[in-house]
């Protein structure tokens, strides 16, 4: 791949930011209101609340997924680096 470069530590920090983004949202989960005496409009409000929760949860899930993918990319790159190193080491072993 031409023009490829990645700073491993920076990429890990990016993954951490996505994890933090997910955590900001999921931390609110336990305090989500439920079972309230909301009156005649409560069924509608409950649907609105649920939709907001589900959508926000999706954002959290996506951030977790992106964090995982970034880390996998880092693992792949470092894996290739190690494999390339092995190739040179093997070559070196064959040298007199």
């Amino acid at each position: 791949v031409s023009g490829f470069r990645i700073e491993v530590e920076a990429a890990k920090a990016m993954a951490t930011l996505h994890d933090e983004a997910a955590g900001l949202i999921t931390d609110l989960g336990p305090s989500e209101p439920s079972g309230l005496d909301g009156g005649v409009g409560w069924p509608y409000l409950l649907d609105i609340l649920s939709a907001s929760s589900v959508d926000a949860g999706t954002i959290a899930q996506l951030n977790t997924s992106v964090a995982s993918r970034v880390r996998t990319a880092v693992d792949l790159v470092t894996g290739y680096d190690a494999a390339a190193a092995d190739t040179f080491r093997e070559l070196e072993k064959g040298m007199p």
């Binding site: 490829f4 990645i6 990016m14 909301g38 409009g41 509608y44 609105i48 939709a51 992106v66 993918r69």
Partner: protein, 394 residues
């Protein structure tokens, strides 16, 4: 017969929903900031098609987060507006009960009892004594009181029904629409669908590895062939008329040769391809994202993108300023600011802008404050002012 003025619902409980939605909005805003930070870091730390793909994905994720942020904000506003409506209508009901008591009607908790029917009072005979006349007058007074109570009953029943109608109408006109908006498809759902799609990530990831491995193998074969021809004692092989022997190719591909190195690399790629085939949903960002970088962004996969960002930053700032200024907590100020705002809006002819800039719950507080003040203070002013009122509020 009786009428129950109890209006179900606890405004404070509904406000906890609004509070939570506002917290959610804040959390989404901070989450979006984190994604932007990560995306910006990518520009200096990561280059290549995978970096491009990540950048696009982070952009989509930011937009999706902003969209949900906007929805949470709208939901918080409508929840707070509903809490206000609930409180005001319950206060109206309490007022109806006070009116009933003042009119002499029996009120048990939230239930107002219908008064007895007015009793008929016979006509006074022409030769009635003064005592009989006085007795009849007392009966007439009782009957008049009963008539007044019945009038008050009819009036309070109409008002109670009107209050029930008012909250029902508000719910129908506002919460039903808000619910529909909240349930519209979101960018986040489209992104998640793309993230879970094996076509988007896994298969392409495998293909990228396998395709690269095949290219390396072909390159290794070419390199080995060139070397084998050079080493061959057969002039026909050296001239390229016939292919090198298998042993010649094997010798030319030994570890350490160019062909050997290429084959090692190809083998490594094939190994990753096999990992991906057995790896389920855990897929390499770099390779999976490669496909995305070649086509549309994931948010466009199978999704109709609806609308843009709702509202403007100026609106939020204006509303926050009103709240921060204590507009909501102090009715007198509500009226003062409300009149100024409404007056200004009418004078400037920017009613729609007013609706856009000031959240519904704040607008309704202003309206309610003006109406309360109107009913308690401005009624005696007369028809001229009343006409002005109707020119504004219909």
């Amino acid at each position: 017969v009786s009428i129950d003025t109890h209006l179900e619902g606890t405004p404070a409980a509904v406000r906890t929903v609004a509070d939570w939605l506002e917290q959610l909005k804040t959390a989404l805003g901070e989450a979006a900031d984190d994604v932007v930070l990560a995306r910006n870091r990518c520009t200096s730390a990561w280059e290549g098609v995978s970096a491009d793909a990540y950048y696009k994905l982070a952009n989509d994720l930011t937009r999706a987060t902003d969209e949900i942020n906007g929805r949470a904000k709208d939901a918080a506003v409508i929840a707070r507006a509903y809490a206000n409506q609930l409180q005001w209508r319950q206060e109206d009901m309490a007022g109806h009960r006070d009116d009933a008591r003042a009119a002499g009607l029996v009120v048990n908790a939230t239930v107002i009892e219908e008064p007895g029917a007015a009793s008929a009072v016979p006509a006074l005979p022409a030769d009635a004594t003064p005592d009989e006349a006085a007795e009849r007058q007392r009966a007439m007074d009782v009957r008049d009181a009963q008539v007044r109570e019945m009038d008050a009953w009819n009036d309070v029943v109409a008002k109670v029904r009107g209050t029930f109608d008012q909250i029902d109408t508000w719910v129908r006109d506002n919460l039903v629409h808000a619910r529909e908006q909240a349930l519209l498809p979101s960018l986040a759902q489209g992104l998640l669908a793309a993230a879970k799609s094996p076509e988007t990530y896994v298969e392409v990831g495998e293909n990228v590895f396998e395709s690269r491995a095949s290219a390396l193998e072909a390159e290794a074969k070419d390199a080995a062939t060139v070397l084998a021809r050079t080493r061959s004692g057969n002039p026909a092989v050296r001239a390229g008329s016939i292919e090198p022997s298998a042993s010649g190719m094997e010798n030319a591909s030994k570890p350490g040769s160019r062909a050997g190195n290429l084959l090692d690399e190809a083998e490594g790629l094939s190994r990753w391809s096999k990992v991906l085939k057995g790896g389920g949903p855990i897929v390499a960002m770099g390779m999976g994202a490669f496909q995305i970088s070649q086509g549309e962004s994931p948010s466009r996969v199978g999704l109709e993108i609806a609308g843009g960002v709702v509202g403007g930053l100026a609106a939020g700032a204006a509303a926050s300023a009103l709240v921060a200024a204590g507009v909501i907590a102090a009715p007198a100020i509500v009226v003062a600011v409300g009149v100024a705002l409404v007056g200004a809006a009418v004078a400037w002819g920017v009613g729609k802008a007013y609706e856009s800039w000031v959240p519904q719950d704040v607008r309704e507080k202003i309206d309610e404050g003006i109406k309360d003040t109107w009913h308690t203070v401005a009624d005696p002013v007369g028809d001229a002012v009343s006409g002005a009122w109707h020119s504004v509020f219909g």
